[in-house]
Amino acid sequence: MQPTEELTIRIGGEAGMGLESSGVGFSKALVRGGLHVFGLPDYHSRIRGGHNFFSVRIARRPLYTHTEPVHLLLALDQETVRRHIGAVVPGGAVVYDEKDGLPEIPRRPDVGYFSIPLSQLAQEKGGNAIMRNTLIFAVAAGLIGFDPTYIEGVARDNFARKGQAVVDANLRVIQAGVEAARPFLADFPFRMEAVPNAPLRLLLNGNQAFAMGALAGGCRFVSGYPMTPGSPVLEWMAGHAEEYGAVTIQVEDEIAALCMAIGAGYAGVRAMAPTSGGGFSLMVEAMGLAGMTEVPVVVYEAQRPGPSTGLATRTEQGDLLFVLHASQGEFPRIILAPGTVEQSFEAGGRAFNFADRYQTPVLVLSDHYLANAVRDIAPQDLDFDAVVIDRGETLTDAELDALEGEYKRHRFTESGISPRAIPGHPKAIYASSSDEHDEYGHIEEDAENRRRMQEKRMRKLETARAEMRLPTRYGAEDADLTLIAWGSTYGPLREAVDRLNAQGRRARMLHFTDIWPVPKGVEEMLVGETVAVENNYSGQFADLLRMATGHTVSRRILKWDGRPLSPEYILHNVKSKT
């Protein structure tokens, strides 16, 4: 049997069956075995029941996205077969529990149905039927010919702290799974063997990458209130706070979360508030406080489908224009929208530098898809060395000691940036106010002062614009079709472009991570047929581009069912109308 280019394994079952954690564990084993993966969880906003699944796409080349076809379906219940049998490719197979049986729907003749006494084996070998998920992944490893020792290694690492008995039970279950696969090997044509001695690679999702980037970038204060999909950043930071000299605090609500981060920022610490759209709604007033009083602060907003509570565990890019305009009045803000794990890490560091340099709130927009999908990358792709901590025009102690005259916290300057003293120095005593104020910070209603102060603040946006990055170009140099992406859709679009070019269509992608202020020179890049591809209803980035540049995209490919864009969906829509 010859090796397959790539394949996708999907496990399905109910909430509470541990699909995501076992799926991530299996993905980790694959990566240790030298393979590339893209793992995507799909779960309900409830603790028990409902239909959840986890898909892992596997290949010998780096992957940037999930795709729709499934090669091997691991069914922990009948519902999984019912829902996903249609996605299985011809020649693919379903593994199901003998005890569950199959649903009463027609059998597909081009698909293998492999019945295995999963519960029974898990109980026998592991002492607990819940270990079915470990078992079924071992069956999968057996079927694709993947060396189970990698799975064993992960099980050892994961269960070490639970004691040797648990580890041993897992190892027995894994072995049983591999053996149970044997009778079906001839009926399953896809193989994906481990690549021995491959270089080490990391496996992580966007949330983890962003949190690491933020920590590396000097974030030392995180205040938050739990909310999917943003709160894992709070949890990650809490878990690392003591070791890395940071402080995290779970607060009473998102209002307090951002207000505390602003207080900490005002007092001189790099501070952040991670949340999702609903939590951000409560941070809106404080955004203006930071803008008016020129306080560096970072908000991480991982989007999920709205409006309102919406779909708590699904994905959408629906908050762009909201975060761009949030809070009364006008003030500068900077918005970054990383598209990959690597960019999420980088955004962590960049955000805090922008915040300090421009003394204004910085937003990092992610979404459920990017936040939760796991991908393997090389260790050097989390470029800790490249991280620079640049506090901008923050006055040093020496500079403060040398200050003459009354310190002007909000001094009128050409760049709009006023050199900032961290409170606590006897030479720079000041009070900022959310009321309009003069250069010292005193409340001032004078019209001329107002005009100048507002201009000063807004000038920071122009200063910042010069250093915002132009979109990444990817694909054919001489493309006549430009697909425009921002944030998390990088992966699906990149693969769509690859496939289009492979099919002879000269296409390229323009991928934006730097959203606001819109980088200088974007206009010139928007040529030929331009298609905005977005995971929302209205095409918010296309609207933003039109507002900011006057460019009207040729058309929009959109998706608003709470599920991520796939290369197939994009290709289908590109073709159906071109």
């Binding site: 240790r32 590396a216 009473e252 106010s433």
Partner: protein, 290 residues
Amino acid sequence: MVTIDDFASPVRPTWCTGCGNFAIWNAVKRALAKVGLAPHQVMLVSGIGCGSKLPDYTRANGYMTLHGRTVPVATGVRLANHGLRVICTHGDGDAYAEGLGHMLHAARRNIGLVDIIQDNRIYGLTKGQYSPTSERGQKTKTSPWGAFELPVNPIALALAAGATFVARAWSGDLSHLTEVIVQALGHRGYALIDVFQPCVTFNRSYAYEFYRPRVYKLQDDPNYDVTDKMAAFERALEWGDRIPIGVFYQVEDRPSYEEQVPTFKAGPLVRRPLEKLRPEQVRRLLEEVL
């Protein structure tokens, strides 16, 4: 030596003549001078309202934030730099309407703030709507029928929330007010001081003449035990001809939030050098995702 002149700001108060805020302002400055905290060693955090302009009139680190969000911003300042003594000064609308939840969470956190409420029992800056501490039946622009709500009892609520220092004072007795603030500055955790602050413009029924004959000092009773919570509750409910002022409750046996945070053992967060992660720190992070 710190003197009250050290806190002189070039900006002159815009409060009405006779406003109770003048006394609070003076008491804050006196108390700071008394305990020897210089302007750069404190931060006055306020919200929005007549009283919340206090930091503008005082030479000291300050931050005039949002209406109702004084306490969370102050908490952030304190967590970032617990070397600063952080004092909140804000109105009853700010503290007990928009801010009520924040205050009670600050109390159960026992975060080291001195929280002074300029309680004029009215909305001053927005010109006279009733406030959470307005009396039931009080007629204002927004309660022409007389307010239906029971007033907030800040003392009882703070006690119920687990506050470790709960006090009341009033603008009519500057030296007592100063003393209470001094005592609060010596407290390790969250300290609430509700100050009756006559608003001579919008709340004339609760002016100096109302309070003067009614207030009495808890500490005048030698048997009053400030560590007895039930006694504090009892006095908190006392209202009418006799209204207690002074420290209702103070205990020092519960550590402040800051004292519990492991990271703070190395000193204030803002004072720690901000450096790139060291190679072994990076290595440990990467190992987690290998």
